[in-house]
């Protein structure tokens, strides 16, 4: 508790790790950090690094079946590109560190945390966001089940949960309750809607089987 003078930060904090700084340093390969990408990155042959940036670069994303062009710095996450540049605000930025799942989207059929994917690394991949699930004024069967089972309070985690549930049901069309509890474990809710979410996912599975479309 001694009193002393410091200019700016203490030495150990100057070298403190920050995700953004790290991703920037790694460049395009940083996408391998993305949750869900680790397995594939491990099996892919290490290719020649395609050096881009650090300034803004033009990219093309395939989102909800549409091709969109934008210019972003290589360090910009898919989440921030969607929210800040494309006005796709369904995915939320909550922990910004791949913990809470509020930014969940589906990329090439797998659920990923959009805060852990670089926008430039999402090029050439098929990205599905909650905005693409149903036309305005309509509800996807998973969304409808969330409404029906009151699996939402403040609703900030809901879009991430709906996307996680859709991705889960795509791979597990006949889940048991135990599988639902395990499969949706990558998303957090603070209002405490888990009981509704459990029921909603089970009910959505039934609804989809009876003719509702989960696609």
């Amino acid at each position: 508790m001694s009193s002393n003078k410091h200019s700016e930060l203490p030495e150990e904090r100057k070298t403190g790790f920050s995700r953004r700084g790290f991703i920037r340093g790694v460049g395009i390969g940083g996408g391998a950090l993305g949750t869900g990408l680790l397995e594939r990155a491990a099996t892919a042959a290490p290719g020649q690094a395609n050096i881009v940036g650090p300034g803004p670069v033009p990219i093309t994303l395939d989102i909800n079946g549409k091709s969109v062009n934008l210019t972003v710095e290589p360090r910009v996450t898919l989440l921030d590109a969607m929210r800040d540049r494309l006005d796709l605000t369904g995915a939320k930025r909550v922990c910004d560190r791949g913990v809470c799942g509020s930014c969940t989207v589906i990329m090439n059929g797998k659920t990923v945390y959009a805060c852990n994917v670089l926008a430039i690394d999402a090029q050439g991949k098929k990205i599905e966001t909650i905005e693409g699930l149903a036309a305005p004024g309509q509800l996807h069967p998973v969304s409808a089940a969330f409404w029906e089972n009151d699996a939402q309070q403040c609703g900030y985690c809901t879009p991430g949960f709906v996307m996680a549930a859709k991705g889960f049901l795509d791979e597990n069309p006949n889940p048991t309750m135990e599988q639902v509890k395990h499969g949706l474990g990558g998303n957090l809710c603070r209002c405490g809607t888990y009981m509704g979410v459990r029921q909603a996912v089970l009910e959505a599975a039934k609804g989809i089987k009876q003719g509702g479309k989960n696609g």
């Binding site: 009193s3 909650i130 905005e131 900030y156």
Partner: protein, 716 residues
């Protein structure tokens, strides 16, 4: 009107929209991702602000050099918030705000700002009161009844130390706003629990009349008591917009800063002594407590909780630590009071070898008279639903293997009287209905219950009601805090609807050949009560609205005159059923039972969701949550969501909710429900763990290290 209209609620059995488990009206917007929260606002020309914050718990700013940041390409405005000379009392304090074309540019620029500090001594931990020194201030001894006599009469005395640490709200949407300076007007999209007063809080420092500040918030990503007025960042965001030539600015705290400065629940620890008879009757209480609410100190839980007439002597010491101030969180001081009290009572019960529920019931004479019978009923109901008689075993009899099962109980009390509220109901000649009220929906279902009350009163379907909330241009409401919203808005909506209907009856009466007071609104018709076949459809009745084409009436609710529409005094009893692995220290929730009364229930589906949510949040705090500080550096070690743990979908067991909707509760009017069921969970879980493993784990959360320390007798 000669007489005061009859605003009273329709009888329970006659309700058509109220009392129904109607799905929340904003559910589709939320479940489709199309609900626009304030952090989702992207007005044209939007730029992004980030904060440069202080890394020290206590320091004086000696120099701030923003030169390089200001010269950074893409930076549009810089605002120094803690100039040289400022004494900073907690880590995370805002020093400079920077706005730039992109968030990354703003973050780069903030990193280039050079701030020099004189670092000062700090205290960030309070668990060890002896180390707090001059930071500790005792409130002085308070006494009720004759505790000395009580201890003399006691046949048994139990003692223990219990505690609950500082815990964070972790609203998923962080605190912040989008501000757009438009010359003589400011447009703000905040994340708040208080749309009505937000502008008035910004006004003095911006030197802009409150009437020139327009506030709009349709959805909020969690508040729980931590989001009322704007903080220093709110004002800075508006100034950045002005400095940037009127570009709208988005400033939402990053997760770390939100954890550091945007509030937490105060800690509370206490050494408690209880004396009593072997038949379970308690005779005396003595407690020495301490805790912190951050730099301002504070946090004095009401002890003994609910059983406040038990003769007692107590002292509470408030500790000031170098962290930001605590904020209200779902029953301020009550979660702590319930944990401290229920833990001490369960220990007393274990000492005399009695079932704790019997001990609680034996001592209800110390509870407020009006609620004694309710608690007695609720203890029995909760015990029945938890299968207590079959499953509860005295300590030490909970299995031979490493997995020990235990049950524990906690209880709650809360006021929940509705707040002041103003509602306007407008009926148009084409039959459309508009309800205007300057409230906000925190996810509790406020939109839905207002619509239900209007539909009920006007005899219309839910879909016929158009509701506007969430701006400060609507009739002023109040903050959503203290479980006051549902009572306030339901009462004002009821009154406005009744008043509007009275005017419609006047317009329609001649066509029905009746007096206005002989009419009623039922199933989309205005009809004569004594001759229901004499009726007009709602549309036809509205066509009789005289020139101007609209009836517009206010409904005003004042907290001090609830008029039977709303009431206070919710009560609940909860039981946790847990399994503890004594080899790993892991606590698992098997089942959780919550019995809750909240007066008249407008929407049982949403009421149940409130209770479930409160219980899940409570289980999370009981099992996992703790703000961890390092005294050496003065920093918080887990200002994030990786190491500040929240319960997930598989961590909360099965939950049984029993809403105590009996006619005698219904008669008490509408009572708020956000707070009460959130109280008592730490108590029930702590008691269940003690019952399972035979020793008390003194402090929440019930993490493996706490459990194993207790088993090893390392409680310090």
């Amino acid at each position: 009107m000669a007489n005061t209209p009859d605003y009273s609620w329709p009888p329970m059995e006659a309700r058509k929209a109220m009392g129904q488990p109607i799905k929340r009206v904003d559910g589709p917007a939320k479940a489709s991702g199309r609900a626009r929260y304030s952090s989702d606002q992207n007005p044209p020309g939007l730029i992004f602000a980030v904060l440069k914050t202080c890394p020290y718990a206590h320091a004086r700013v000696t120099n701030v050099d923003t030169g390089e940041a200001e010269r950074t390409k893409g930076v549009l405005a810089v605002q120094v918030m803690s100039p040289a000379g400022t004494e900073i009392q907690w880590e995370g304090t805002e020093v400079v705000a920077v706005a730039a074309a992109t968030e990354d540019i703003a973050r780069d620029a903030a990193a280039k700002i050079k701030v020099a500090y004189e670092v000062l001594p700090h205290l960030v931990k309070e668990e060890d009161l002896a180390a707090a020194g001059s930071h500790a201030k005792a409130a002085g001894e308070r006494m009720q009844g004759d505790p000395d006599k009580g201890f003399q009469e006691a046949e048994a005395i139990s003692e223990g130390t219990y505690g609950i640490p500082m815990q964070s709200h972790v609203c998923l949407e962080t605190h912040g706003e989008v501000a757009h300076w438009q010359g003589d007007q400011l447009m703000v999209w905040p994340s708040t629990q208080d749309v009505t007063r937000y502008a008035g809080t910004l006004s003095p420092n911006l030197k802009m009349p409150t009437t020139s500040i327009k506030v709009n918030m349709q959805y909020v990503g969690g508040g729980f008591g931590s989001k009322f007025g704007p903080d220093a960042w709110g004002e800075a965001c508006a100034i950045l917009s002005q400095k940037a030539g009127g570009r709208p600015v988005k400033l939402f705290l990053d997760r770390k800063t939100d954890q550091l400065i945007a509030g937490f629940r105060p800690s509370a620890f206490a050494h408690i002594k209880i004396g009593g008879k072997k038949d379970g009757t308690m005779t005396a209480w003595e407690s020495k407590g301490w805790g912190t609410g951050g730099f301002p100190g504070g946090g004095s839980p009401p002890l003994p909780y609910i059983l406040s007439d038990l003769p007692n002597r107590q002292n509470f010491t408030s500790v000031s630590v170098n962290t930001a101030a605590s904020r209200a969180w779902r029953a301020p001081n009550n979660q702590q009071a319930s944990l401290l009290t229920c833990s001490a009572i369960e220990d007393f019960a274990a000492q005399i070898g009695m079932d704790p529920i019997e001990v609680f019931k034996k001592n209800l004479q110390y509870a407020p008279k009006a609620r004694q019978a309710t608690y007695a009923y609720q203890f029995d109901k909760a015990a029945e639903l938890a299968n207590w008689k079959a499953l509860w075993k005295p300590r030490g009899q909970n299995g031979a293997g490493p997995e020990k099962r235990g049950l524990g109980v906690g209880f709650n009390a809360w006021g929940g009287m509705g707040h002041n509220s103003n509602c306007k109901v407008s009926l148009y000649a084409d039959g459309s209905v508009q309800v205007d009220i300057g409230t906000q929906d925190l996810g509790t279902g406020t939109r839905t219950v207002i619509t239900q009350v209007a539909a009920e009163t006007l005899g219309l379907p839910m879909s016929a009601i158009k509701l506007s909330i969430g701006t400060n241009e609507l009739p002023p409401d109040a903050a959503s805090g203290g479980s006051t919203t549902v009572g306030g808005v339901s009462s004002s909506t009821r009154k406005a609807s009744v008043n509007a209907l009275a005017k419609l009856y006047e317009a329609a009466a001649p066509a029905l050949g009746a007096q206005p007071e002989e009419l009623e609104a039922v199933d989309g018709h205005i009809r004569v009560k004594s001759a229901p076949t004499k009726s007009l459809t709602w549309q036809a009745a509205c066509k009789k609205i005289p020139a101007g084409g609209v009836i517009s009436e206010m409904g005003v609710t004042e907290q001090r005159s609830p008029g039977g529409l709303m009431g206070a005094g919710a009560a609940g009893v909860q039981i946790a059923d847990v399994t503890v692995d004594i080899e790993t220290g892991v606590v698992k929730i098997n089942r959780y039972v919550a019995v809750q009364d909240c007066g008249l229930v407008i929407n049982p589906r949403l009421a149940e969701s409130q209770v479930l949510g409160a219980v899940i949040m409570g289980i999370s705090t009981a099992l996992y949550e703790q703000r961890v500080f390092d005294q050496q550096t003065g920093t918080m070690l887990n200002p994030d969501m990786e190491f500040y743990k929240l319960a997930g979908i598989d961590d909360v067991g099965e939950i049984v909710v029993h809403m105590d909707i009996r006619p005698e509760n219904d008669k008490r009017g509408v009572i708020g429900l956000g707070e009460p069921p959130a109280i008592g969970i730490c108590a029930a879980v702590s008691n269940a763990v003690a019952n399972a493993i035979g020793v008390r784990v003194p402090n929440i959360p019930m993490t493996p290290d706490h459990v194993l320390n207790a088993l090893e007798g390392r409680n310090g």
